[in-house]
Symmetry: C2
Amino acid sequence: MTAPRYDVLGIGNAIVDVIARAEEDFLVAQGMHKGTMALIDQARAEKIYQAMGPAVESSGGSAANTIVGVASFGGHAAFVGKVKDDELGRAFAHDIRAARVAFDAKPAGDGPSTARCYIMVTPDGERTMNTFLGAAQDLKPSDIDEAKVASAAIVYLEGYLWDPPQAKEAFVKAAAIAHKAGRRVALTLSDAFCVDRYRAEFLALIRKGTVDIVFANEHELHSLYETADFDTAVKALRGDAKLAVITRSEKGCVVVTRKTVEPVQAMPIDRVVDVTGAGDLFAAGFLVGLARGKDHRTAARLGALAAAEVIQHIGARPAVSLKALAAENGLPV
Amino acid sequence: MTAPRYDVLGIGNAIVDVIARAEEDFLVAQGMHKGTMALIDQARAEKIYQAMGPAVESSGGSAANTIVGVASFGGHAAFVGKVKDDELGRAFAHDIRAARVAFDAKPAGDGPSTARCYIMVTPDGERTMNTFLGAAQDLKPSDIDEAKVASAAIVYLEGYLWDPPQAKEAFVKAAAIAHKAGRRVALTLSDAFCVDRYRAEFLALIRKGTVDIVFANEHELHSLYETADFDTAVKALRGDAKLAVITRSEKGCVVVTRKTVEPVQAMPIDRVVDVTGAGDLFAAGFLVGLARGKDHRTAARLGALAAAEVIQHIGARPAVSLKALAAENGLPV
C-alpha cells in the first residue's frame, strides 16, 4: 500500500446554496419541515425562489463543504461531483478549487442547470433546505477515477447520493476501489428524512462493512433505528458499525466503537447565526484528524472546533483558516 | 404637482458582487488600488476570478444598494438598471424585488453577461472593487420611463453612470423629467477615480443645477476640486451646490448648504467587517429622511445608522430591517 496522496476524497452532490433569512411563518406557509432537507423539482424551486427574500449565493453541498473544511485544516483533499457548465457551475468549481481542493469532474454541457439548495435561515439560526438536484443527477460510475479514489486515505460519501438515480452506483464503485487499495470509507447519513427514504440500504452498507466510519446526528440515528431513545439507538449502532460519531449540537458528540462510547464536548460559542454546515464541518475536523493519525478524542475536538466556527456566520464553509484556528486552540493538525 | 408615488427612484449599474477575503499582498500582486473601483474587461475579469479566493455572490451596484436601503427603511422605492437574462441577472432581479423595490427594466436577451464586481475585502474591512460592466453598458435613454421618474420625490443617480456609453444620456433625460415634474435630483460622485475621469462634466452638472443634492466622500471631494485640503474643497462646494453631504468614515459627515456647514457624528460600532456599501447606505438614510420631510440633521443620522449596520457584516445591503433599527434608535421614519 503506497502512502495516500489525499487525506480525504469526497463524493457528493455539487450544489450552490441560495441563502435567505426567513421567519418561522414563512416555513409554515410554504409547508417546509424546519431543520430538514426536502427534494424539490424545478417548478417548486421557482415558486420558492419567488416567495423568498433577498438571497446570497454561496457554494455548498454537504460532502463538498466537508472537503473544503479538510483543505482549510491543511489537509490534502479532492472532490467528485457534477455541475453544469453554467454560471453557478463555474462558481462552484471556482470556489472549491480556490479552497485548494482537487476538482476536475467534467461539467455537463447540456441538461438541467447546476444544482441549487434554497436555504431559509430562521432567527434561531436553524436552517431549512430545499434542494433542486439539477445537474447533480448526472453523477455516474464513469465519473469515478479509480487511481484517484485509491490514492485517498479516506473516501467520504454523503447519504444524499442515494437521491440521484445513478450516484449510488458511483458510491458503491468508489467504496470497492477504496477497500481494494486498503483505504477507509466514511458515510454521513445526511438527514433524518434521507435516512427514512433509504433506511434498509444504509443499514446494509454499515452491516456489510461497505462503510467503515459513520457520521450521524441524533435525529438521523433515531430515524435509522426507528427509536426515540438515544441509548437504545447507540447500542444498536455499536452492534453494526466499527466506528461512528453521533453529533448532538450543543451537547457535543459521542464517538462509538464496538468497545467504547466516548462523549466529547462541544466548543462554547457566543451566538449561533446559521447552523448550515455544522455537521459537514464536524466531519471535516474528525476526518482530517483520523487521516493524520490522531486519536478519536482529538479528531472529535477538531470536528467540534470546525463546527463552532461555521455556525457563527452565514454560510456553510469556513470563513477563516481552520489550520490556524486549530493551532490557536492547541490542536495542531 | 401630484403627491409622489415613490420616495426615491434610483438609476445605476445593475451589478452582482462576487466577494472574497484577500490579503494586502494580493492587491499588490494584482496591481489593484486599495479602496477604489477599477473598470475591467472580460479577459481581466477572468484572470482576477481565477486568482481570487472562494467567493460569495450577492446583488450589488451602488445606486441599487441605496435603493434597497430606502426600501428597508420602509420607503417606496424603484430602480432602473440593465441586466442580462442569465442566472446572475435573474438573481439581481429577484433580490431587488424581494426587497420590495419596483424593478421592471427588460433584461437584455443577448450580448455580454450581467455585470459583476469582484470585491476583495482585506482584513481591515476595506474593499477594493473591479467591475466588469457587461450588460449594464446597454442602459439607454429609452429605458427611462417618463411617468415613473416623474412620480418619485427624488431621483438618485450614480456617478458610475458616466462609464457606460449611453447611460449618461439616460441620466440627463431622467434629471430633466424630474425637474419638469418639480422633483429633486441627487448624485453620488461614486469614486475618486470616477471623479478623475469625469471631473469637468460632474462640476458642470452641479453648477448648472442639473443635480440638486450631491453625495461624496472626502476622497471624491478632494478629487473634484483637485485639492488635498478639506476646508478649501468644502468652500468650493458651497459655491457650487445647493445641498451636499460629505461622508468622512468614522469622523461622521458634514451637511453643506450655501449658508451652513453642519457636522453630524458617525454611529459608534464594535468592529468593521466590510465597508462595502457604507456610502450607498448612508445615502439611503439621508434620502429617505429628505423624502419624508425630515431636517438635514435627522436625515444624516438615518444615513449614519444605515452605514453603521452595513459595515458590520459582509455584503453591501442591510441584513436587518432598517425601519426597525431606526425606530429602536429613536429615529422613526
